[in-house]
Symmetry: C2
């Protein structure tokens, strides 16, 4: 479903992003010869202005975030990203500069993460800018890591720091001040942990996108285990610490972290640390999985169970 | 990016659509082991309420149309559809019955066309319902048919009848009356020509989604040829004929046909007819491609060149 205005838009902004198999975005469909013996890993996320990003966010960062939230899902399977398809629905009168900036952001991250555009559709909408991106990666057959698969006694680890994205949203909406600019940057530009090898290390994994506690709950339910984490062990950035203890709950339950949440058998902790060093990514042990009802208990410094009022970020 | 309301929505309506590799829609990404030696064919289309369908269209038909417009792109490559990923952005307060109807429509066509849901994302939107669907098919390596590849002297053929979709939109919006209901049905429920084998028959192909003349122009530009079609040879349904000659231009330039537009070397016409019989699909020769500037000339009954005011359907 294409149109003259769309052709021009595609030619100017999106064709330069097209990779092999995309047929120059001039055909009805794209071609992909899958790498021999590899399993494909596919994920899709939508982003809507006013829901997943702010209407005045810089368009290059919107493009990069759209790609990165999907890259994060691919990273959470231990897979290598390859190509993406995308739909872009724009209100009439969207400035050409917005589309140019959006495409420029995609171009930067295509180069950074080694992916290319395989196909797309551009339409108008009477609503806000609506984006959808399908990302395709690959992994050695049978080595993808899932949310299920964790065992009683596995340790819970996270990469990077937790809560910066949620605090960055608070900064963006004027509820928090961060003179360093670090938190806003983390909200606008996640750092997907692409290239972090999980096979042979993690028994289960996912990325933290809807809040640490809620997402850990997914691993619990998928693996049939309970979880216990220690609030004091959850790694916080200096700007997050500077926000003060009143923001701790936001850090634990907010969204937009895009860090890896891993279940790791104790015997594999050394392999995890070696991989973390190889990738230059910090990893921190924050708790453990154990037999029991699939619930997440967050413990304070005295070992007491903390009561959290929010289960995680909700888009509805 | 998920949320409690989303989990419930997914569990009730979308999980029953999930196929093998979808991991029950409970993971960050889906898995697909590509059929050995086959090339993947991928396409994506967005549909927005008020642009691509009418807000009061029955939701099951919206779901089926979303799937079918993508199936039509896969059919135009001569490929076999396999799986799809989908994003669904819904305004707050969208009735559960709408989602149930939408999913029921998808279920009907999944069964009809042999495809299944591999993954998705459900979000809210302050705008109209916005849908995006990525469809994955496969084809014997190197046999996909493209928009380019036609040669001087190739004949132009179409499947089915042309213009019903555009006239159906006229019916839906009260500009035309069709007591048979056929035209509205054709607008709401395209019939993608999945299973029609193109390899060894068509030198170029695409589906007619934006209007016959505009889409034929794509084949002309991609193949570096001019085209001449005869208005009197373009196959029209009985209800389209009943609409009268004032609607002919709409038939030739309107969108939403989802028929196949084929360039066929004369020596392969017999093979085309045999395939048409095998599939129970009518095919009609409407003109030819020839050396010259990449333009489409539409000729009337006296051989005169008809001047069309509309180039095709535009979503902007």
């Amino acid at each position: 479903m294409t149109l003259p205005g769309e052709f021009s838009l595609i030619g100017r902004h999106f064709r330069p992003l097209a990779g092999p198999g995309a047929l120059g975005l001039r055909d009805d469909a794209a071609l992909l010869m899958p790498p021999a013996g590899r399993e494909l890993v596919l994920t899709v996320d939508a982003m809507v202005a006013g829901v997943h990003f702010l209407p005045d966010d810089p368009p290059d960062l919107v493009g990069r975030k759209l790609l990165r939230v999907n890259l994060s899902d691919i990273a959470a399977k231990g897979a290598v990203p390859l190509h993406y398809l995308m739909t872009v629905s724009l209100p009439k009168g969207t400035p050409d500069a917005w589309v140019a900036g959006f495409a420029a952001g995609l171009a930067v991250d295509q180069a950074a993460f080694g992916v290319s555009l395989l196909g797309g559709d551009t339409t108008s909408t009477p609503g806000p800018i609506s984006l959808s991106l399908t990302l395709i990666g690959h992994v050695a057959r049978g080595t993808a890591v899932h949310r299920f698969g964790a065992a009683d006694g596995d340790e819970i680890w996270v990469t990077g720091t937790i809560g910066d994205g949620a605090l960055g949203l608070a900064v963006a909406t004027g509820r928090l001040v961060d003179p360093t600019g670090f938190l806003l940057e983390r909200y606008r530009l996640p750092r997907p942990r692409v290239g972090f090898s999980l096979a042979g290390i993690a028994s289960a994994a996912m990325d933290v996108s809807d809040g640490l506690v809620q997402d850990l709950g997914h691993i619990c339910r998928a693996s049939g285990l309970g979880a216990e984490i220690f609030a004091g062990d959850v790694p916080l950035s200096d700007p997050a610490l500077a926000a003060g203890p009143a923001w701790l709950e936001t850090c634990l339950t907010g969204g937009d972290d895009y860090e890896l949440l891993l279940a790791v058998p104790p015997a594999r902790a050394e392999a995890l640390l070696a991989e973390a060093v190889r990738c230059g990514v910090a990893v921190t042990r924050i708790g453990r999985l154990q037999a029991g009802p699939p619930e997440v208990v967050v413990r304070g410094s005295g070992g007491e169970s903390l009561s959290l009022t929010k289960g995680g970020w909700s888009h509805f």
